[in-house]
């Protein structure tokens, strides 16, 4: 699964879902959290994460906060009000997609 491209379209949903559960998160933290939750099965690559975060920020779904941590600046992302609403939509879309895929892969279960 680690090399799979299946999650690519779900990257936005994953980010929104994580931020919905946590008040604010920074880039590295998001990659580690996904790794931890999926026990290493799903790996968000750095090359894909930041473009996705910047896109969501430009769309007004994420807001940023910067704090000095240790001897460097850290940029935190959090959901805006629109972002919170969009998270619900995206999760519903994903659930629907999973249901459809289940019906295709395992018709008996669906």
């Amino acid at each position: 699964m680690s090399n799979s491209k299946l999650y690519k379209g779900s990257l936005t949903t994953i980010i929104l879902k994580l931020l919905n559960e946590h008040d604010k998160m920074y880039g590295y933290e998001i990659t580690q959290k996904v790794k931890e939750l999926t026990k290493g099965e799903l790996k968000i690559t750095e090359g894909a994460l930041y473009p996705a975060l910047h896109k969501l920020e430009a769309e007004g779904l994420l807001d940023v906060e910067v704090a000095k941590v240790d001897n460097r600046l850290r940029k935190y992302y959090k959901l805006t009000e629109t972002g919170t609403k969009e998270t619900v939509n995206k999760l519903e879309e994903l659930a629907e997609y999973i249901k459809t895929m289940q019906a295709l892969v395992n018709p008996k279960l669906a």
Binding site: G27, Y28, E29, Y50, E57, N71, R72, R74
Partner: protein, 229 residues
Amino acid sequence: MKLTESQIQDLYVFTRQHYVEHYDLQTELVDHLANDIEAQWQVRPELSFEDAKNRAFKKFGIFGFMDAIEQKGKAMNKRYRGYLWAELKTWLQLPQVLATIALYLVFYVSFSLGDIATIALIFFGIISIWCAFKSIQLNRQFRRRKEVSNKKWMLEEMIFRQAGSTMFVFMSQLYNVYKIPEHFGDNAYFLFLFSLGFTALTLINYISLEVIPSKAEKLLNETYPEFSL
């Protein structure tokens, strides 16, 4: 084990060497690399800073920071267009709309007075000279700002350097204006659209070269929480 201040500075240089010009994106990537290096040191404390740094960078894939740079540019362009549009909308509301209507009437009446191509070229000349003057002025301001802070912010560069690009859109139409047949000036529908186009382009140039740069500090503080840190 934590990174030292000089190692953090080394990471800033490293991102610059990998084509990340702007401080806003550099800062985010520096923190990411630093976190990764520190995580590696927890498992393998014997790793050198250089090795850990290269291993962290490899995780960005073969294109390195390029995707992040590209997307950040797109995102910031969208934000800049948003600011431009928000300002443009205020010129369609009271009281500025009165100035917009007056400007429109100046163009409309002038174009109806005589040879439309000649009059349009005169307006073109005036607007272009003003735009060129403002672009040079803003470019100088940008260089001075960079000398003082030694940092280059993506939005700041758009505000001070790309603002002049609307002038090129304007200038690209010079030949078409020159070639306008004289009898077009008698066509009320054409005059209406032509004056509207001139008004819109004049306003966009004015907003991007005068209004937005004058609000640069406010917009930069709004966009970058770290700007005043």
